[in-house]
């Protein structure tokens, strides 16, 4: 059996790893709100690039861009569609004739959307890499989030690594029976198409099994629950949380003024 992968969390002993999960969560939420609030492309780019020093200091620089491998196709589609079909076209960049052209507004729009996506993905993934899911749930419970909500957060965080490892297993099975998965895009698409059925069925089956496992351990029994893990909001967390709020508010305001 392949090893059960429960989260993407990578244990390291760095300053960022040791922060309270809530501090990191507030940072992530601030990043997401800001990239949507800010319209200028350069301000969003800075937020995306900010991941580099962060990941470096958490010793995870080589890991943090990994999800982009699977997502490049989304960016291709995004640019493909928007550069040709964006509704408010004014300036032509490249004219192919026959009414087909690449429009500047479309390219700009695709770039802004891509940067927002990129910021959410790399910062979101970074959050998952540096936050132990159990600690996150524990600290959410401490600020009176219902524990069912905590469970939803936890299991959502587990979905991505689990699906990724299931995908790898099925691809291994297909290669072992002669399917060529290297090479042309057509080859790759052909390899991925029979994946969808088993992945979907597997997930549904997982839900059923989990429900049974949870309920047989009194998950919905109404009582005060204790926690196996313990987290604390320390002074440095409070300072950093406050700085994050102040910084991103200013950042948003400045991007609108300038």
């Amino acid at each position: 059996m392949t090893k059960a992968i429960l989260s993407s969390y990578i244990k390291k002993n760095t300053f960022i790893h040791k922060l309270n999960p809530l501090t990191k969560l507030i940072f992530l939420v601030a990043v997401i709100i800001t990239v949507f609030a800010v319209k200028s492309f350069i301000y969003n780019l800075i937020i995306v690039l900010a991941i580099i020093p962060l990941a470096y200091s958490a010793k995870l620089l080589s890991k943090v861009f990994k999800p982009l491998r699977y997502l490049f196709i989304i960016f291709i589609v995004l640019y493909g569609i928007q550069s040709f079909l964006y509704p408010e076209k004014e300036t032509i960049l490249i004219d192919f004739g026959y009414g087909i052209a690449i429009w500047e507004e479309g390219v700009l729009f695709a770039t802004i959307i891509s940067l927002r996506l990129l910021a959410m993905i790399v910062h979101g993934y970074f959050f998952v890499l540096v936050t132990h899911p159990g600690d996150l749930v524990c600290s959410l419970r401490k600020i009176k989030f219902p524990y069912k909500f905590g469970y939803i957060v936890l299991s959502t965080l587990q979905v991505i690594p689990r699906v990724a490892s299931q995908m790898e297993t099925i691809i291994d099975a297909q290669k072992s029976r002669g399917l060529e998965t290297k090479g042309s895009i057509a080859n790759r698409l052909k390899a991925y198409s029979p994946l969808l059925g088993p992945l979907f069925l597997g997930s549904v089956q997982n839900v059923v099994e989990r429900t049974i496992a949870l309920e047989s351990r009194a998950f919905s029994y109404e009582t005060e629950k204790t926690s196996y893990r313990e987290t604390y909001v320390r002074k440095k967390d409070k300072i950093i949380m406050a700085s994050i709020v102040v910084f991103f508010t200013l950042y948003g305001v400045i991007s609108w003024i300038l």
Binding site: M1, T2, K3, T169, I170, D172, A173, Q174, K175, S176, R177, G178, L179, E180, T181, K182, P194, L195, G197, P198, L201
Partner: protein, 277 residues
């Protein structure tokens, strides 16, 4: 040309997560051999055989398949020569009908449609599961799922067939079915079988490889291996029950592998008692 289908030299492998699963493995497997790999869970058996069809690439050392470095071929190319039946059939089966599952490999080998159909029919009849051809593979019970997983490899007719714990979790009938199938296959194929079922191993293997802590601890015929009880005990393995019994019976040989052998030996020990009856 050597007659080795598989040659492993100084193979070491570390998983990206940092687990050193194989340490300096040297091994040769001859054409037509029936080899069993035994060892406790986590000793590296699955990791080792995944190198034989290129699913894993050595961290260091070489894997040579039919005289050619495995690095130079993709798993898909190697699948023509080496078929690997996964330990867990749920990991291996991904189509929505049994017949499509069996057809998947032959289609990738670019066989013609009627040839593919013939392979599907022949293989499903061989494993006696033709009646399930339109069933969803994952709806079958574990015994049948395991057979379908084997069948999906047989349909491609690779010379080497690797079976990763083909009888684990099965009931008696399932084990017997798997056993007779493996015996049939061994007439024309090189067989590598990973198993915890020492009875099965002693019955079918010509050579046993014992793995322990990412290394090969010893290798030899079943008789040679099962006689070394103290070494086996270190790896938490035990010889087949009948062998244990004869090892504990005074005056008995310690390399007896089957009940028939045991009875024969008994007869030579006490000729008078069998006469008096």
């Amino acid at each position: 040309m050597s007659e080795n289908v598989i040659e492993i030299k100084n193979l070491s492998f570390t998983y990206p997560a940092g687990v050193e699963a194989l340490k300096d493995i040297n091994l040769e497997i001859k054409k037509g051999e029936i080899v069993a790999i035994i060892g406790q869970n986590g000793s590296g058996k699955t990791t080792l055989v995944k190198h034989f069809n290129g699913l894993l690439q050595p961290t260091s050392g070489t894997v040579i398949i039919n005289g050619k470095d495995a690095k130079q071929s993709t798993t898909a190319q190697l699948s023509r020569e080496v078929g690997y039946v996964f330990q867990d059939p749920d990991d291996q089966l991904f189509m929505s009908k049994v017949k499509d599952e069996i057809a998947f490999g032959p289609k990738n080998l670019k066989m013609k449609k009627n040839e593919v159909n013939k392979r599907v029919r022949d293989t499903l009849k061989l494993v006696k599961l033709w009646k399930f051809r339109n069933t969803h593979p994952l709806d079958l019970n574990l015994d049948d799922k395991k057979l379908i997983a084997i069948a999906s490899i047989i349909a491609m007719n690779p010379h080497v067939i690797i079976l990763d714990e083909p009888t684990s979790g099965q009931d008696h009938r399932g084990i017997l079915r798997a056993e007779s199938l493996i015996k049939k296959l061994s007439k024309e194929h090189t067989i590598i079988i990973i198993s915890h079922d020492m009875d099965l191993v002693s019955k079918i293997a010509q050579r046993v490889i014992v793995m322990y802590n990412s290394k090969i601890l010893m290798t030899g015929t079943p008789k040679e291996v099962f006689i070394k009880t103290s070494l086996l005990a270190k790896t938490h393995l035990k010889p087949p029950l009948i062998t244990q019994l004869s090892q504990k019976t005074k005056g008995m040989r310690s390399d007896i592998l089957s009940i028939d052998e045991f009875i024969e030996e008994l007869k030579t020990k006490k000729p008078h008692s069998s006469k008096s009856r």
